[in-house]
């Protein structure tokens, strides 16, 4: 039996008939076709699938699509607007905060959720917010520096 659900992804509504076994991650990637959100471990360890649901960072692989019915989802594709990248995306490029790039969408979404919650988090809070995002190539220093740069820039009048 399939279920009818409505997802608001990056401001657009999707009415979908989904298998109750499908995760939000599978639906975002396969049914909606937004493949910026990555599948890594598929069991909530690596954070590659991090999206923002109703303002909070979550692992899309641990949520059934039917549970996300009527929820507001923001993925990496929803950050840039009017042809302009989000300041976090700009900073990740400027600081070279990526290598293979597989963990990057998740990292950025975790950082974005942190900035929703706190306007000027300290380094410890930044580390805490991305502790659930594993990077296996470049390390975390440049990622933290990129996030700090955005916080600094936003503080300037």
């Amino acid at each position: 039996m399939k279920h009818q659900i409505r997802l608001n992804v990056n401001g657009a509504y999707y009415d979908l008939l989904v298998d109750p076994r499908k995760t939000l991650l599978e639906v975002i990637r396969n049914d909606i076709g937004l493949i910026g959100t990555k599948m890594g471990c598929n069991c909530g360890e690596c954070g590659a699938c991090t999206v923002i649901m109703d303002g909070r960072a979550v692992n899309a692989c641990l949520i059934l699509a039917v549970q996300a019915n009527d929820k507001k989802i923001l993925t990496i594709e929803g950050l840039a607007s009017g042809g302009k990248l989000d300041p976090l995306q700009e900073a990740f490029i400027d600081y070279g905060a990526l290598q293979c790039g597989y963990c990057t969408p998740g990292m950025i979404m975790s950082a974005k959720a942190l900035l929703y919650k706190k306007s000027s988090p300290d380094r410890g809070e930044i580390q805490e917010s991305i502790a659930g995002n594993l990077c296996r190539c470049t390390g975390y220093i440049s990622v933290i520096e990129a996030i700090e740069a955005v916080i600094k820039a936003e503080k300037r009048p």
Partner: protein, 269 residues
């Protein structure tokens, strides 16, 4: 639940359940999503009654509560060491308890606080002490058709201090190898211990109070010699297993270390 006769599982946050299903450990035919039951996610504090937490309260919401941080620091400590931000944002306290993992992060702290669980189902409503809630790994006293709806935590007396210590190689990102919650009440910093609760996580089939060790501490002024004895007795009371994370011998040794460390953090010895 009755209708599906054991073929159904209750889904709350899903951070444990979905992982177990993906790994093929369990394969329920039906999932019953209780997340939409309103009012089960409340966090209420009353000066007389203490803290009442709905079973669907999110770990993240509880962790961010200043009331819990200030009045129940032992619980705040355990919540802060549970999973990643992404997991805390969807995991519920009821789920953490009902999965009945021997290593459930919130259980030792809640038992040390003297918490109770309110259960509702056919057959009415009842309240059980949380230390009597767990039966074996993966199993609680809940029967088919019953759900945990509330956790009740009595007020902590001002002379009582507590701490939850977790031993894991990747700190909060993995299951505890051993977790120890200790709460002690003393009249003054060097005074004798009036009450002691020592609760062990991941050191027995269920989260377990080290009752003999508690008795040993009660009414006594703790010195290094007595503390060694308390820690050894607590370790003897544990019955850990050997698994991929650690051997039983190592766990028993770590119970000793963590009990000593907890006492040293709480009182002057």
């Amino acid at each position: 639940m009755n209708q599906f006769k054991g073929k159904a599982k209750i889904l709350a946050g899903g951070t444990d359940l979905l992982v177990q299903m993906k790994r093929g450990k369990i394969a329920p035919e039906y999932l019953i999503n209780i997340k939409n039951i309103s009012d089960l996610d409340r966090i209420e504090y009353d000066v007389n009654r203490g803290l009442t937490i709905g079973s669907l309260a999110l770990i993240a919401d509880l962790q961010e509560s200043y009331t819990i941080r200030d009045r129940f620091p032992i619980l705040h400590g355990a919540l802060s060491q549970l999973g990643t931000q992404q997991v805390r944002n969807i995991a519920t306290i009821g789920g953490n308890l009902c999965n009945a993992s021997p290593a459930a992060e919130t259980a030792p702290a809640l038992i040390a606080l003297g918490a109770s669980a309110k259960i509702v189902g056919h057959g009415g409503e009842k309240v059980v002490k949380l230390e009597d809630f767990f039966v074996e790994p993966g199993k609680t006293v809940l029967k088919i058709g019953q759900i945990l709806i509330e956790i009740q935590i009595p007020n902590v007396s001002p002379d009582c201090k507590g701490i939850y210590l977790k031993h894991a190689l990747r700190r909060k990102l993995e299951t505890a190898i051993v977790g120890v919650a200790v709460s002690l009440s003393t009249d003054f910093e060097y005074g004798p211990v009036k009450e002691a609760n020592i609760v062990l996580g991941a050191a027995a089939p269920i989260p377990k109070r080290a009752l003999k060790a508690e008795q040993l501490a009660k009414g006594k002024k703790i010195d290094q010699h007595l503390l060694n004895e308390i820690a050894s007795v607590a370790s003897e009371e544990s019955s850990p297993i050997t698994d991929v994370r650690a051997t039983a011998e190592y766990r028993r040794e770590m119970v000793k270390v963590l009990v000593k460390r907890a006492f040293t953090e709480l009182i002057k010895i």
